[in-house]
Symmetry: C2
């Protein structure tokens, strides 16, 4: 699918030209992670059928799993009512998290409160 200029203009990008993308396992429905896409990374995602984000820390494209092999095969891309958030249903080839957890959301708030740290 090619994103037309009208589609790109109607999407509500933030001031940095980014949009949050929630990644959900298409089979288990577990929420795996959240990352950000700009228009170009969304187009690349649609083109190659695997998630491609924009890394805010590295300021570069981030083809998830390119080095680890843990790519996320895109089954469906959804957009919310006010067109400012993406929901991407995927079949993951491996863990989503850099800690090797299946999902980045592996801690409850209580667990975090017991041991607050950014991992």
């Amino acid at each position: 699918m090619h994103l037309s200029a009208e589609v790109i203009q109607t999407i509500k990008w933030d001031k940095q030209g980014l949009m949050p993308a929630i990644v959900q396992d298409a089979n288990t429905l577990q929420v795996l992670m959240m990352a950000y896409m700009n228009a170009e990374s969304l187009q690349r995602t649609l083109d190659i059928g695997e998630t491609v984000f924009w890394s805010r820390s590295r300021q570069s494209f981030w083809h998830k799993g390119e080095t680890s092999g843990n790519v996320q095969v895109v089954k469906e891309v959804r957009l919310d009512c006010d067109a400012d958030t993406l929901l991407i249903l995927v079949e993951p080839a491996g863990p989503a998290c850099h800690t090797n957890a299946t999902s980045c959301f592996f801690r409850t708030m209580s667990e975090f409160a017991d041991k607050p740290e950014q991992l």
Copy 2:
């Protein structure tokens, strides 16, 4: 649960002091919406057991369902690895979306591309 100063300082709030909160149905696992919380709205959420967001457009607290009755009863609050995104599992009393759809993510990208609009 009272959020300690250490917990609040360890959470990676954005420049506006906000954090995205993904809301997921605890039973169906459908992703319902995404909104934003600041430290105070997160504390209120934990206190009352229903979602309280920070409305960026209105710059005010937004107790979801306060007027519509469609509150979201919080079953679990999770935090991701780098502590910059919340995942909140809820039992919703009604539709999450202002359009009356169960989920705000009721459009596929193809459907949006056919009729691009912010609803």
